[in-house]
Each structure stands twice: as C-alpha cells, then as structure tokens.
C-alpha cells in the first residue's frame, strides 16, 4: 500500500513538473513572440522612415502647411511624456525615500530610457534635417524657443536616467539617488516646458493658455503610473517569477497614486473645457469638434472613457490587489492616453489661423488623417521602446536587484 501511494505521489509530482515545464515553455515562447513582434514593428518603422526621407515628407506625410504637426509629433509627445511620468512616479520611492515604491526603481528607470529612445526615434524621422539639428541646436541655440528647451531637457532626462540606471546596476545607491534627483528636476522642467511649446503659441487659441504646464504634469504622471503597472505586470507574466510581496505592495501604492492622478487629470480636462467654451469663436469651434464633431469619438470614447473612466473604476475595484484588473486598467490607459496626445496636437491645428478673417478659403475646419508612413514610423517608435524593454528583462534578469 505504502509503496503504491508513494509511487502515485511521485507520478503526480512528475506530472506537475511536466505542467510547470509546459507553462515555462509557453511563457518563454510568449516572450520571444512579443520580442519578435516589437522587432518587426521597429524594423518596419525604420524602413518606412528611410523611405519617407527618400521620397520627401511632402509625399510621405499627411502633415501640411496648415497642419504642420501630425501624428509623429503626438506620438513623440506620448512617448517622452510616458517616460517623464515613469521617472516622476518611480522617483517617489528611490529619490524621495518612500520605501513602498523602491522595488519599482530599476525597471522603471530602464523603462523610462526605453520610451525616451522610442520618442527620439519618431522625432528623428519627423524632423526634416536631423543632422543639422545635432549641429545647430548646439552652436546656434535660441533660448527663447520652447522647442529648443524641449530637445535639451529631454536629452538631459535621458542622460540622468541612463546614469541612474548604471549606478543602480552597480549597487551605488547614493549616486543613483543623486542622478534620479537631477532626473526629476529635468523631468518636471521638461513637462512645464512642453506645456509652453503648445501653450505659448498665441496664434493657436486651442492651445494658448496657462493650463498647459499643469495639465501636462498631471497627465504625464498618470501615464507614468499606467506604464509602470503595465510593464511590471507584463514582465512578471513573461518570466516565471512569483511576485514578491514587496513588489505587490509597490504596485498597490502605484495603483492608488494612479487613481489620484486620473481624478486630477479628469478635473483639469473638464476645467479646460469649461474655460475654453467661454473663449473666442475659434477656440470654441475647435472644442466643439472635440466634443461633438469629428473628434468626438476620440475624445469621449478613447480619451475619456477608455483612457480614464473605465481604468478609474477598475483600479478602485482592484483595491490595488487584483493584478488582473490592474493589468486591464493599465492597458486601457496606455491605449487611451495615446489618443489624448493625438487629439491635443491635431485639434489644436484644425482651426485655420486665418479663420477670423471670414474668407472662403479658411471658412471651415482643416482635416488631417495620418498617412501610412506616419503610422508605421509611430508604431516603429513604440516597437523600439517595447523591444528595448523586453530585451532589458532578459539582459538584466528581470531587474532582480530591485527587490533587495
């Protein structure tokens, strides 16, 4: 009898091991499939970018004289703002010493670097003469130009995040904290400045105004919280690691911060609308295309509902503990916020600058829809960010140092 039982147990154990083996194999395959998918997006993006350069933006892009900034700019903004938000949210732990957040540090810093590089990839193909940029941004800077500061501050953020990551790897925590602190300064400055990039264009009523910087900071941190939850859960899903309690706790507080940030961003979105609707004709026209016109689906369904309201409900329901609900919430946010940036950039240009002249050429709204090249390059940037992130999980062994 005893013999039989033990052999049964052994059988079950073998069976269990087999199952675990299969599970492991599936995870491994999923990882490589994900990596391959990202690599393909990236390579296609590179090809589209090079092709666009060779035939000229006039043919390759749908951005025009009237709408000079298309989806490439909005994707760039999306990616660098996610990076910035990741930097700020994760710094609550490793820079400002809130212990709960500390397990997120290494992966988050790496994630910030990855998304920044994705953003730089997109802007590289958007700028007509990127090589001139490398030279003249340095030798002929214009300090009154918010765009100049944007490049410089995001360059600085990239630098500090890179340095911080290296220090974290080497276990030099004091130095990492110092670099992280500088990163936070660069990150906050970059966001307020990004507000100025749009908010200081007095010829564009939709953007003009003092709300932009604060709106950017709130919504950036919101997207940062979403990205941290999304990518951390993804990393654990793809590796065969059990989540450590410290990490669970870290995600729980991130989810709580996320809730707060969604509410703040919703509040500023509404406030901007209310103030905007009391503005001039050109501005209300743009707002109406967002609220009830061409961009209403983007706005109400994608930006508001998918990007903020449903995730808010899910995060509240999850209590920061149901990883499954949090994963869905973070995925929806990453998706919806993309359209938040798109709408902001595009709708800001739909009202022609000469609208008030009342001439027939500029009587209506200008439309823009991204071209194939523009879409592929945008996806290429997202692919590059994903590729770097996933590769990092392998190379740095799941950023294990973080749980020390």
């Amino acid at each position: 009898m005893a013999h039989e039982i033990s052999s049964e147990a052994a059988g079950a154990q073998v069976y269990g091991e087999q199952l675990a083996g299969i599970d492991q194999a599936i995870r491994k395959t999923t990882y490589w499939v994900a990596l391959l998918g990202m690599a393909i997006l990236f390579v296609v993006g590179v090809a589209a970018g090079i092709h666009a350069k060779s035939i000229g933006s006039l043919h390759a892009f749908n951005a025009t004289r009237e709408v000079p900034w298309g989806i490439l700019i909005s994707t760039y903004v999306y990616l660098v703002v996610v990076a910035d938000g990741v930097c700020l949210v994760s710094s609550i732990g490793h820079v400002f010493g809130r212990k709960d957040f500390v397990p997120l540090a290494s992966r988050s810093v790496f994630l910030a670097v990855a998304t920044l590089l994705g953003g730089f990839f997109v802007i590289f193909f958007d700028i007509e003469n990127p090589f001139r940029m490398a030279i003249y941004n340095v030798i002929s800077p214009n300090l009154t130009s918010a765009i100049w500061w944007m490049g410089t501050l995001y360059g600085a953020l990239m630098f500090f995040m890179g340095v911080e990551f290296v220090f974290l790897l080497k276990g030099k925590h004091k130095l990492a904290t110092a670099a992280g602190f500088l990163g936070v300064i660069a990150g906050v400055a970059a966001l307020s400045n990004l507000g100025a990039v749009f908010g200081s264009l007095d010829g564009r009523d939709f953007w003009y105004g003092p709300f932009m910087p604060i709106f950017f900071i709130a919504s950036a941190m919101m997207s940062g919280a979403a990205a941290i939850i999304f990518f951390t859960l993804l990393a654990y899903k793809l590796s065969n690691r059990k989540m450590e309690p410290a990490m669970k706790r870290a995600l729980e507080v991130t989810a709580k911060v996320g809730i707060l940030l969604i509410v703040t961003t919703l509040f500023f979105t509404l406030w901007k609308l209310i103030i905007g609707l009391t503005g001039g004709e050109a501005k209300t026209l743009a707002l109406r295309s967002l609220l009830s016109g061409h961009y209403a689906v983007n706005f109400w369904i994608l930006e508001i509902t998918v990007g903020m309201v449903i995730p808010l409900v899910l995060l509240v329901l999850s209590k920061g503990r149901s990883l499954w609900l949090m994963a869905v919430a973070a995925t929806l946010m990453m998706f919806g916020i993309f359209f938040m940036r798109y709408d902001m950039v595009i709708v800001g240009q739909t009202v022609p600058v000469q609208f008030q002249l009342g001439v027939s050429e500029y009587a209506g709204l200008i439309s823009y829809a991204p071209s194939t090249h523009e879409i592929l390059i945008s996806l290429g940037g997202i692919g590059l960010a994903g590729l770097i992130f996933l590769a990092g999980e392998k190379i740095f062994k799941g950023h294990k140092s973080e749980t020390h």
Partner: protein
C-alpha cells in the same frame, strides 16, 4: 512671450508732444495730423475723439481685420512712438500697405513671386484670399492679398530652436538662414498668418522676405509683387521715411488702416486699407 499678448492701450502721450528728437521714422506726425470730418470705416469722428480723450485705441471688426483707426495704428503696431524709435530702429523699415479694394484677383503678383523667388508649385509665399459679401448690393466679393507680415514681435523667430529664422537688424525683414533650418516646422505652427511652408528643394522652410535676396539687395526698389500689380493694391516702401507713400497712407488720419489679427501681438508691418 512676455508682452506678446498685450495690445498696448496705454494713453497716447500728449498729441502735441512731437518736437522731441525721436529718432528714425519719427516725423512730427502728431502735429501734422488733422482731424478729418465724417465717418471712417464705421467709426465716427465723434467716437474717435471720445476714445482718444480717454486714451483708448479704437478697435472694431472691419472687413476681415480688426479696425485700428489711423490715430491708433502706430500704437498698436509699436508700443508707443518712443518704443518705436528704440525697438524698431530699422532703416529702411520695409513695409507694405495693401489697398484691399483695389485687388482684382488677377494673380500677377503670385506669378511674379513664384518666378522671382523660385517658389515650387506646391508652395506659395503670398496668396489672394476671397471674402464674400452675399448681402452686399455692390461688389459681392473682396480680395485680400496676404503675405508674411515681417512682424515686429515675430512668434516664428521666438519659436525657432536654431535661429534659422531671424529679424534682419537693418531693415526689419524676417529672413531665413536655410543651412540652419532643421525642419521642425515649429515656426509654421507658431506663425499666426500661415505665411510659411516647407520647401523640399532647399530643405528649409520658405517664406516671403520682401524679395530681399532676389531684388532689394540688388538695388531694386520694389518687391516683385508690388511691381507686377496693375491695380496698385500693394504699396511697398519705407515706413521710416515720411516722404514715402506707405508712410503717408499709414499715418493719414482720414484713412482706416488696420492689421490682421492684432490680438496675437505679433505687430505686423503689412497694413491694410480700403482703396
């Protein structure tokens, strides 16, 4: 960024105060001003006086632009007469007056511009806009030539990261240094007048520069468009020269003169008037 939203409405300094040396472009203009009788562009002389008394610029909506009465036009373009001398000491101070109702949309100016400045077919430096007045009993359509306003407070220059676009310190023209242009298109977003486009031939943003390189610097007195116009719709000249046609018309109190979109604070050097 700081003063760009201000449309200066400070009280005009005493109208009589004109003898002081005010530098280039300052003639004893206030003193030579006569008040005209009757109505100008919908603002009665009475209204004008009253506004002046309380020190406000007269503005109103008028044919596609905001009306600045002749008395206030300089104030709206330059902060004040003294500021003008100090901040915009251009000599010559190139400027253009569009006599809107003279334009017959023959588009000879557009052709001349394209030819002179090698403007590709997908781009333009100047344009003729059409405005319908369906209710009007007379002429039901009006043509409004537009071009770069060579702004005194240019949003494009402020926004350009590499100083590829800049204001010429001698003559006030907004020019391009093509080799520095990175093609970020920020200036195109920043310009409140849609005056810029990306030129794939030069791989830089292109815009009207009053034909500086192609004509003015070669000794020509007029821009290609002004020369080509058969109807006298584009008066080009030196705003710092009291003897010039632009100067006289812009300072003529009997004329309603305005600029486009003054609320952006860009302070254009292209003025508009009827006939």
């Amino acid at each position: 960024m700081t003063d760009s939203k201000k449309i200066p409405e400070e009280p005009r300094q005493d109208e009589q105060q004109s003898g002081i040396d005010t530098g280039p472009g300052q003639s004893p203009k206030a003193g030579t001003r006569k008040s005209g009788p009757g109505e100008t562009g919908g603002v009665t002389e009475m209204e004008r006086r009253q506004f002046l008394k309380i020190g406000l610029a007269i503005t109103g909506v008028f044919a596609g632009g905001t009306l600045l009465s002749a008395a206030s036009v300089i104030d709206n373009v330059f902060a004040s007469e003294d500021d003008y001398a100090e901040k915009y000491p251009y000599r010559p101070h190139y400027s253009m007056l569009i006599r809107q109702s003279n334009c017959i949309d023959c588009e000879r100016c557009l052709e001349a511009c394209k030819r002179t400045n090698h403007v590709p077919e997908y781009g333009y430096r100047t344009q003729i806009l059409k405005k319908d007045y369906p209710e009007s009993s007379g002429r039901t359509v009006e043509f409004i030539p537009v071009l770069c306003n060579q702004c005194n407070n240019p949003p494009c220059v402020r926004a350009c990261p590499t100083r590829a676009t800049y204001k010429d310190e001698t003559n006030g023209i907004i020019r391009m240094d093509n080799s520095k242009c990175i093609g970020c298109k920020t200036c195109m977003s920043a310009c409140p007048y849609n005056a810029r486009y990306f030129n794939e031939e030069t791989m830089a943003v292109d815009k009207c520069n009053f034909c500086y390189d192609t004509r003015l610097s070669r000794g020509e007195a007029l821009t290609a468009c002004a020369e080509a116009c058969p109807a006298g719709a584009r008066i080009f000249g030196d705003l710092s020269d009291p003897g010039s046609e632009v100067y006289r018309q812009v300072h003529d109190i009997e004329k309603a003169v305005w600029v486009l979109r003054p609320e952006t604070g860009a302070k254009p050097n292209v003025f508009y008037t009827k006939g």
